[in-house]
């Protein structure tokens, strides 16, 4: 009986918070048939927005994966001054509101900012352009790979790495053949979370992009723009594609996870 009560509470919570709103989005999108939704999705600005989101994700995810693995290795395997700070700073993007991140980038790269003058002299547009949007996305999706990999590295310990060294393996060989295979599921899991975060990022990108239609508008920004222009069907259609990508990402994760236990 109690088991059922627990299930009921969990399912009810999930449907009230998640499934009902998502269902309504689906319903509203196709309320007037597929045509308005298709028109909104095939608009050049929408296609550009999705392209931009994918480009940013394709740059931010690999960079944060490499950085996350390096950070996790440093935190778990090395001793150096400032290690505690590094450990704390990695979590900062989780605690900080993305809008604050956007504003701080403004302060750094704006005309009067620390780096602003340098980029202006070299005629490189950072703010209101792709570079700032990538930097903002990298910042907000920074912690996921490191946070997944750190506990796994701790758990496997360093004896296998020591054994590899005594067998003649150098640092890179040891990493590629021993460490990386041992942490691969944690890395994959972290990559999936990072991807989801990059696709869905709104706040920081909204601040630094300038939201120029067809130029610096990502998919999430496009949803809001359509909504503000009273094109509800369009907004819903883009939102649904984003939701479907998110669901696909989450499904990949659940498919990946059980196999984690067998290695």
């Amino acid at each position: 009986m109690r088991r059922y009560a627990l299930r009921f509470v969990a399912l009810f919570y999930l449907s009230a918070i998640l499934i009902a709103p998502l269902g309504i989005v689906f319903y509203r999108t196709f309320e007037d048939g597929f045509r308005p939704a298709w028109e909104a999705l095939s608009a050049p600005d929408t296609i550009h927005a999705f392209k931009l989101t994918l480009i940013i994700t394709a740059i931010a995810v690999p960079l944060n994966t490499i950085f996350g693995i390096i950070c996790a290795l440093a935190i778990v395997r090395k001793r150096f001054p400032g290690k505690g700070l590094l450990n704390a700073f990695i979590d900062l993007p989780l605690a900080l509101s993305p809008v604050v991140v956007g504003l701080s980038l403004f302060l750094l790269y704006g005309r009067t900012g620390w780096f602003g003058g340098f980029f202006e002299r070299h005629d490189i547009q950072v703010l209101f352009a792709l570079p700032a949007m990538i930097i903002a996305t990298i910042f907000v999706s920074l912690p996921f790979v490191a946070r997944e990999v750190v506990p796994t590295l701790r758990e496997i310990g360093d004896e296998q790495e020591q054994a590899a060294k005594t067998l003649g393996a150098g640092g890179w060989q040891t990493f590629r053949r021993i460490t990386l295979p041992s942490i691969r599921w944690a890395v994959i899991y972290g990559v999936i979370l990072t991807t989801a975060r990059c696709l869905g990022e709104y706040g920081a990108v909204a601040v630094v992009s300038g939201r120029i239609q067809g130029e610096t508008e990502t998919a999430t920004l496009r949803v809001e723009e359509r909504y503000d222009s009273f094109d509800l069907a369009g907004a819903y259609a883009i939102a649904i594609v984003l939701a479907l990508i998110a669901i696909a990402v989450l499904l990949t994760m659940t498919l990946v996870r059980p196999r984690e236990g067998t290695t």
Partner: protein, 319 residues
């Protein structure tokens, strides 16, 4: 193939793990580093392997200074207490690892792995993963893996420590036979004196970061250089100001000249031997080892007052 340890010191923060340690290990010998936990034996082994670096002193392997050489360039085989098996690789790939990183030809790797798997009796398990092996099998795999690149020295850190008693004894015999066959200079760390006596031809007894004595098993037992060695290698009783082995004592039911009065606490029979635990008038514990025949002849009982005498004049002076 000899190993020379010259004046090695190593500190971890405030803790002195090794304090000016020197040791000669002859090529082809089988040496045990014996001592209680925290005595520095594992640290010394790891310094020889290059897994730790000494604060002071030198390590010479085959006459060459290896003090600053990285572990991957030392050509040592290392066996860990908890196997350190590569969990994502099959047994074959584990054993082949050291040859693959050295980029040996495929055919050579296959032959060498086949031979080693046969040597450690794991021919039938080549395609299994470490998780599908028993502890003893995993440790044999780890040994084959360490031997594969033909190391100049083989180092084993409490290799049987995680195994149950029967498998331990089996692997002990097996290591001794293996050493007779392969003849690689071998050092193994243990806290079990019986294991050290059983396997090694030379034993270095360690305590508090220092080597107390180096010798063959008989020397350590018969001529201990210090009180610590006397107590740690085999059992010892303190009778007055002398140390006596339990089998050098006898029990009399009547007062005897030079005898120490004591009360029997417990009598245990082990096959041919029997062990009598007593407490003397000062409350000090004593252990006497007699043959079973002698025990029956004495007709002793728990609680009985007896006199303990040293029946051999071979008692050891306190160091």
């Amino acid at each position: 193939m000899s190993i020379l340890v010259r004046n090695i010191s190593k500190r971890f923060g405030d803790f002195t793990a090794l304090d000016d340690v020197s040791l000669d290990v002859a090529g082809g010998s089988l040496t045990a580093l014996l001592g209680p936990s925290g005595s520095g034996k594992s640290t010394l082994l790891r310094i020889i392997a290059g897994l730790e670096f000494a604060d002071q002193g030198e390590i010479l392997i085959s006459g060459e200074d290896a003090t600053a050489v990285r572990p991957q360039d030392r050509n040592v085989g290392f066996v860990f207490q908890h196997y350190a098996a590569f969990k994502h690789m099959t047994v074959r790939d584990n054993v082949a690892f050291g040859l693959q990183v050295r980029k040996r030809p495929k055919a050579e790797i296959r032959d060498r792995v086949d031979r080693l798997l046969k040597l450690v009796q794991l021919e039938a398990f080549g395609h299994r993963y470490p998780a599908q092996l028993s502890g003893g099998q995993r440790q044999r795999m780890a040994l084959a893996r360490a031997l594969a690149p033909k190391p100049e020295v083989l180092l084993l850190d409490e290799p049987f420590g995680a195994l149950d008693a029967r498998v331990r004894a089996e692997l002990r015999d097996w290591l001794r036979h293996l050493h007779e066959e392969v003849h690689v200079t071998t050092i193994f760390v243990t806290h079990d004196q019986a294991e050290a006596m059983d396997v090694a031809s030379q034993i270095a007894v360690m305590n508090n970061g220092r080597i107390e004595q180096v010798g063959d098993p008989t020397q350590l037992y018969d001529q201990p250089a210090s009180e610590f060695v006397m107590q740690f290698v085999g059992e010892a009783n303190r009778v007055g100001d002398r140390w006596v082995r339990p089998h050098d004592l006898d029990v009399r039911s009547e007062p005897a000249p030079g005898g120490v009065e004591a009360q029997i606490e417990r009598i245990t029979r082990y096959g041919f031997d029997a062990r009598i635990e007593l407490v003397d008038a000062g409350g000090e514990p004593l252990v006497v080892q007699v043959t079973r025949d002698r025990l029956e002849e004495l007709e002793l009982a728990r609680g009985q007052i007896v006199w303990v005498v040293a029946h051999h004049e071979r008692a050891f002076a306190e160091a």
